[in-house]
C-alpha cells in the first residue's frame, strides 16, 4: 500500500473521457465564446477529471466503496453545479423556464432519484464491473445533476425558483440523501457487494482495500452522503438567501 505510488501512477488517460471533455469544451466555446465564465468551466472539467481519471477513480474501480461514493458526489453534485455557473449570465432555454418554476419536482426527483437509483444493489454492482453500465452511470449522473441544479443555479433569475421555494427544495434534497446515508452508516445493510468480493489479480491497487475494514468503508460512504453532501446543500441555501438579501431588485418575497 504505497500512497506515493498511487498518487503518481494512479492516473489513467481514458480516451473516452478526454475526448468527451475536449469535444464538450469546443462546443461550449463555439456556443458562448467569451461570454462564458471560463473559470467555472475549468473548475467543472477539473472535477470531472478528478472523478474519472485520478487515483480516486482507480480506487473507486471496485476497491473502496468510499472512493466510489466520493466519485458519485463529485459527478452528481459538484461538476453539474460548476457547469451551470459557467454559462453566460443571460443564458436561458425556452423549455427551461416552465421546467424550473412549474415542475421543480422533476429536477428534485432527478437529483435524489439518481442517488437512490444507482445504489440499488444490482445496479451498483453492475456499474462497478461493466464498462458500458459505468459510462451510462457517469453520463446520467452529470445530466441528472444538471437538471437538479437548474432551478437553483440557472443563470437567468426567471429560470430559478423563488428563494423560499429554493430553500425548501434544497432542504428536502438534503433529507433525501441523508436518509440513505444514515441507513448506510447506522445499519449493517450491504448495497454494493462488489466492494467486498475478491479482486482480480490484475487490479493494481487491490492492497488499498486494507485501508479500512469493510464496515468502516461502508460507513464512510454513508457518512459522505450524509454530512458533506448536506453541507453542499446548506451552502446552496446560504447562497439562495444571500442572493435574496443582496440584490435590491430580487424577488421581494421568499415565496408566493
Amino acid at each position: 500500500m504505497n500512497l506515493n505510488r498511487l498518487l503518481l501512477e494512479g492516473w489513467s488517460a481514458n480516451p473516452w473521457v478526454l475526448g468527451g471533455c475536449s469535444v464538450f469544451t469546443l462546443l461550449f466555446a463555439r456556443a458562448f465564446g467569451t461570454r462564458a465564465r471560463w473559470r467555472w468551466l475549468i473548475a467543472a472539467l477539473a472535477v470531472v477529471v478528478l472523478a474519472l481519471l485520478s487515483p480516486l477513480a482507480a480506487l473507486a474501480d471496485g476497491v473502496l466503496f468510499s472512493a466510489h461514493m466520493t466519485q458519485h458526489i463529485l459527478l452528481l453534485l459538484i461538476a453539474p453545479g460548476l457547469l451551470l455557473l459557467a454559462l453566460p449570465r443571460a443564458f436561458t432555454l425556452r423549455v427551461a423556464h416552465p421546467l424550473a418554476r412549474r415542475l421543480p419536482l422533476l429536477g428534485w426527483a432527478a437529483g435524489i432519484g439518481a442517488m437512490w437509483f444507482w445504489h440499488a444493489p444490482a445496479l451498483c454492482n453492475a456499474a462497478a464491473v461493466s464498462g458500458p453500465v459505468r459510462a451510462l452511470q457517469t453520463l446520467s449522473l452529470l445530466a441528472l445533476g444538471t437538471l437538479f441544479w437548474w432551478p437553483i443555479l440557472a443563470p437567468a433569475e426567471r429560470d430559478r425558483l423563488l428563494p423560499g421555494h429554493g430553500v425548501a427544495y434544497l432542504f428536502t434534497a438534503c433529507l433525501g440523501c441523508s436518509a440513505l446515508g444514515m441507513i448506510l452508516t447506522l445499519t449493517p445493510v450491504e448495497i454494493c457487494s462488489v466492494y467486498q468480493a475478491p479482486l482480480a489479480a490484475s487490479q493494481p491497487w487491490a492492497d488499498f482495500r486494507g485501508l479500512f475494514s469493510a464496515q468502516h468503508d461502508r460507513q464512510i460512504g454513508g457518512l459522505l452522503m450524509w454530512i458533506p453532501m448536506c453541507s453542499v446543500y446548506v451552502a446552496a441555501i446560504m447562497l439562495e438567501l444571500s442572493r435574496w438579501h443582496g440584490a435590491p431588485a430580487a424577488a421581494e418575497e421568499l415565496s408566493s
Binding site: 464512510i220 457518512l223 448536506c230 453541507s231 446560504m238 444571500s242 435574496w244 418575497e253
Partner: protein, 743 residues
C-alpha cells in the same frame, strides 16, 4: 389591508368598572385568545415552574454542599435531577421563549393577533396539562432516569414504577403543544404582516423566531415518535429499545439526540433573537450586519440536525462516524461565532446605555461565548471521552442554558416589561438581581469546570471527602443560593413595579420596532395606526425624517400566502418528520442480521395492494371534488367528497381485516420485532388516515350545511393533508411490505 386601522376598538373600555371589570378579569384569563394575554400566561407558567425547578436545583446543590451528606437519599436525588432537567427545559425555557414570541412577534409585524388565536390558546393550556401529568408522578414514584431517559434504564425491568409513563405522556403533550405554537408562529409571520413589512424588513427577533419555528416543527415529532415507542415497550411488551429480540438501546439514543441536539438550538436561537433586539437599542446603533445574523440563524438551524451523534461519541459509533461528527459539530461554531461578532461590533463605538437589560445582554454574550467554547472542546471526540458525564459537561451546558438562555430571557423581561405592564421596573432592584445572578451563576458553574477535570462525575448523590472537592462544591452551592436570592429580588421587583412602578409611556427606551409604536400595555387590537414601513427601523424613520434609514428593498403590495394552506403545509412537514422517524426505526430494526425477512413473506401483498388502490384512488376523487368546488358545483363537490370518504373507510376496513388475520396467525404486537415495528408504522398511518377522515367529514358536513355558500371552503387546505397520508402510504408500502423481502 391595514389590519390595525380596520380593527374594532378595545372591548374593555373605561366605561366598564367595578364588578363588571372583576368578573371580566376572572374569566378573561381562562378563555382568552388574545396573543398578549396568552404570552403573559406563558410567562407566568414559566415563572411558576422556574420556582419549582429552581427549588429542585437548590436541593441538589444543598445535598452536594459537603462530602458524605445525607440530606436526600440516592433515589430522591435521581428523581430531583430528572425533574429539574425536564422542568427547566420543557416547562421553563420553552414556555418563556414562546411567551415572548407570542407577545411580540404579532406586535413587531404590525398584526392584530396570531394567525390562529384559538390554536394558540390550546398550545398554552397544554402546558399546565403536561405539567400536571409530569408532577402526577409524585404519587406513583417519580421518574429517575435523567432528562434523556436512556434505554434500557428507562425500560420496565429497571424502572418498573409508573413515573416514566407520566414523564412520557407529559413530554408528548408538551411536544404537540410546541408544534402547534410553531405552526402558528410560521403562519403568523408569513400571512399577517402589515403593509410594507416585507420579510427582509422584519426585526431580527421575528426572523429568528420564524426560523426557530421550523426547527420545532421538525425536531419535536422525532422525540414524540421515540416516546410512543418507549411507551409501547413499557405498556405493551414490545422490545424496540431492549436487547431481547434484537431491539436496540442505541436506537433510542439516536432518536433522542436527533431531537435533543436541535432542541439546544430551539432554546438558543430565541435567546439570540432577544439579544439581537436589546443590544442595538442600548448601543444606539442599528445591528451590525443584519443579513449575517439572519443567515447565520438559518445555517445554525440546518446544521443542528446534522450533528446529533456528537452526544454519542462514547457508545462506539466507530472512528469513521466520530471523525465526521467532530468536524460537523465544530462547523456550527462558525455561524454562532459570526453572531457574537455582530453583537460586539454593534456595541463598538455605540453610545452604550448600561441599563439592566443591557447588562444582561452583555453578560449573555460573554457567558454564552464561554459555554460555546467549552462546547467546541466537547466536539472533539478524544476530549469528550475524558470529560463525558463529568461536572465539566454540567458546567458547559449550564453556561449555555443559564448563562445564555436564562440571561437572555431576563434581558428580554427587563426590556419589554414596561411594554407588557405599562410600568417601569426599578433599575436599583434590577441591578441587585443582575449582580446576585451573575456572581451566583459564575460561582455555581464556573468552578464545576474544575470539579469535572478533577474527576467528579455528574449524577452522583454524594461523594467522599477528596482533596479540594469539598470546598469547591461548597462554593458551587453558595452560588446557587445567591441565584435563589436573585430570584426573590426579581419577584419583589416585578410585584412592586406592578403596584407602584413609574409609568412607562409608549416608548421608554426609544426603541425602533413596531411594538413601541402603540400604548403600554397595547390595546386589545394592538395598533390604532401604523407608521409607514420602508426600512428595518420604522420608529427611527418617524423620529428622524431628516435622516431616515435607507429603504430596504422595493415597496410593493405584499405577496401573502393562504393562511390555511401555509398551516397545513407546516403540519405536513412535522408529520413527515414523525413518519420519517418511524420508518427509519423500522429499517434500523429490521435490516440487522435478525431481519424480518421470513415474517415479511407472510404478509398478503395481494390483499394489501387492493386496499392500497382504494386509498390511492381517494386522492383522485378528492382532486375531482376540489375541481367541482372551484367550478361552484356543490352537488358535485359533495358527491366526490363522499366518495373520497367512502374509499378511505374501505382502506381502513381492509387494514382492520389484515390485522385480524395476522392476529389469528399469532403475529401479535409482541411476538417479534418485525411485527412490533410493522404495527407501529401501519398503525400510526391508519390513525392518521382516521384523523384525515374526521377532518374530511367535518368539511363535508359544513359544505352540506351551506356554511360556505359562495365562498371557498377549506377543502383544498384539508385536502393537502389527505394527499399527504396517501403519499406516506407509498413509503410505508415500499419500506414495510417490499424492502424486507429484498434485503
Amino acid at each position: 389591508m391595514n389590519h390595525a386601522a380596520a380593527a374594532p376598538a378595545g372591548s374593555l373600555g373605561p366605561e366598564l368598572s367595578g364588578e363588571a371589570v372583576r368578573a371580566h378579569w376572572r374569566l378573561a384569563w381562562l378563555s382568552t385568545v388574545d396573543h398578549k394575554r396568552i404570552g403573559i400566561l406563558y410567562l407566568l407558567f414559566a415563572f411558576l415552574f422556574f420556582v419549582i425547578g429552581g427549588l429542585e436545583a437548590l436541593f441538589i446543590r444543598l445535598q452536594l454542599a459537603v462530602p458524605n451528606n445525607t440530606l436526600v437519599g440516592p433515589d430522591t436525588f435521581n428523581a430531583l435531577f430528572t425533574m429539574h432537567g425536564t422542568t427547566m427545559i420543557f416547562l421553563v425555557a420553552m414556555p418563556a421563549l414562546f411567551g415572548l414570541a407570542n407577545y411580540f412577534v404579532p406586535l413587531m409585524i404590525g398584526a392584530r393577533d396570531m394567525a390562529f388565536p384559538r390554536l394558540n390558546a390550546l398550545s398554552v393550556w397544554l402546558i399546565p396539562l403536561g405539567a400536571a401529568l409530569l408532577h402526577f408522578s409524585i404519587f406513583t414514584g417519580m421518574p429517575k432516569v435523567g432528562w434523556f431517559a436512556y434505554a434500557p434504564l428507562s425500560e420496565t425491568p429497571y424502572n418498573p414504577e409508573l413515573g416514566v409513563e407520566y414523564w412520557i405522556l407529559a413530554l408528548i403533550v408538551l411536544g404537540i403543544g410546541s408544534v402547534a405554537t410553531a405552526v402558528n408562529l410560521i403562519a403568523t409571520v408569513l400571512c399577517l404582516r402589515a403593509p410594507g413589512m416585507t420579510l427582509r424588513r422584519v426585526p431580527l427577533f421575528v426572523w429568528i423566531n420564524f426560523v426557530n419555528s421550523f426547527i420545532v416543527v421538525f425536531a419535536l415529532p422525532v422525540l414524540n415518535a421515540g416516546l410512543v415507542m418507549l411507551l409501547l415497550d413499557r405498556q405493551f411488551g414490545t422490545s424496540f429499545f431492549l436487547d431481547r429480540e434484537g431491539g436496540s438501546a442505541v436506537l433510542w439514543q439516536h432518536i433522542f439526540w436527533a431531537f435533543g441536539h436541535p432542541e439546544v438550538y430551539i432554546l438558543a436561537l430565541p435567546a439570540f433573537a432577544i439579544v439581537s433586539e436589546v443590544v442595538p437599542v442600548f448601543s444606539r446603533k442599528p445591528i451590525f450586519g443584519y443579513e449575517f445574523v439572519a443567515l447565520s440563524s438559518v445555517a445554525i438551524a440546518l446544521l443542528s440536525f446534522a450533528v446529533w451523534a456528537h452526544h454519542m461519541f462514547t457508545i462506539g459509533l466507530g472512528r469513521a462516524a466520530d471523525t465526521f461528527f467532530v468536524i460537523a459539530s465544530m462547523l456550527i461554531a462558525i455561524p454562532t461565532g459570526v453572531k457574537v461578532l455582530n453583537w460586539t461590533a454593534t456595541m463598538f463605538r455605540g453610545r452604550i446605555r448600561l441599563t439592566v437589560a443591557m447588562k444582561y445582554a452583555i453578560a449573555f454574550v460573554i457567558q454564552f461565548t464561554l459555554g460555546g467554547l467549552s462546547g467546541v472542546t466537547h466536539a472533539s471526540a478524544a476530549l469528550d471521552w475524558q470529560t463525558k458525564n463529568s461536572y465539566y459537561l454540567v458546567a458547559h451546558f449550564h453556561y449555555v442554558a443559564v448563562g445564555g438562555v436564562v440571561f437572555a430571557v431576563l434581558a428580554g423581561l427587563e426590556y419589554w416589561f414596561p411594554k407588557i405592564s405599562g410600568r417601569m421596573l426599578s433599575e436599583r432592584l434590577g441591578n441587585w438581581t443582575f449582580w446576585l445572578m451573575t456572581v451566583g451563576f459564575n460561582a455555581t458553574f464556573g468552578i464545576q469546570h474544575v470539579l469535572g477535570f478533577v474527576g467528579m462525575p455528574r449524577r452522583v448523590y454524594t461523594y467522599p471527602d477528596f482533596t479540594h472537592w469539598g470546598w469547591m462544591n461548597l462554593v458551587s452551592t453558595v452560588g446557587a443560593c445567591l441565584m435563589a436570592a436573585a430570584g426573590l429580588v426579581l419577584a419583589y421587583n416585578l410585584l412592586r413595579s406592578l403596584r407602584r412602578g413609574t409609568s412607562a409611556g409608549d416608548n421608554p427606551w426609544q426603541g425602533w420596532t413596531l411594538e413601541w409604536a402603540t400604548s403600554s400595555p397595547p390595546p386589545a387590537h394592538n395598533f390604532v395606526a401604523l407608521p409607514p414601513l420602508r426600512s428595518r427601523r420604522p420608529l427611527w424613520d418617524s423620529a428622524h425624517p431628516e435622516q431616515p434609514d435607507p429603504p430596504v428593498g422595493p415597496s410593493g403590495p405584499l405577496l401573502i400566502p393562504d393562511r390555511g394552506k401555509t398551516s397545513v403545509w407546516t403540519l405536513i412537514a412535522s408529520e413527515a418528520a414523525f413518519f420519517g422517524t418511524l420508518l427509519f426505526a423500522f429499517i434500523y430494526l429490521n435490516l440487522s442480521p435478525h431481519s424480518g425477512r421470513e415474517a415479511a413473506f407472510s404478509l398478503d401483498l395481494k390483499m394489501t395492494g387492493i386496499f392500497s388502490l382504494f386509498l390511492f384512488s381517494s386522492s383522485f376523487t378528492l382532486w375531482r371534488a376540489e375541481a367541482a368546488e372551484a367550478r361552484g358545483h356543490r352537488a358535485g363537490t359533495l358527491g366526490w367528497l363522499g366518495l373520497t370518504i367512502g374509499l378511505g373507510v374501505v382502506f381502513l376496513a381492509g387494514q382492520a381485516m389484515e390485522y385480524v388475520l395476522l392476529y389469528r396467525e399469532g403475529a401479535v404486537l409482541q411476538s417479534k420485532l418485525f411485527w412490533s415495528s410493522f404495527y407501529l408504522v401501519t398503525g400510526f398511518h391508519g390513525f392518521h388516515v382516521f384523523a384525515g377522515l374526521i377532518a374530511l367529514l367535518i368539511v363535508f358536513g359544513l359544505i352540506a350545511g351551506g356554511r360556505f355558500a359562495g365562498r371557498r371552503s377549506p377543502l383544498v387546505a384539508i385536502g393537502l393533508y389527505w394527499h399527504f397520508v396517501d403519499i406516506v402510504w407509498v413509503f410505508v408500502l415500499a419500506t414495510v411490505y417490499f424492502l424486507p423481502r429484498f434485503l
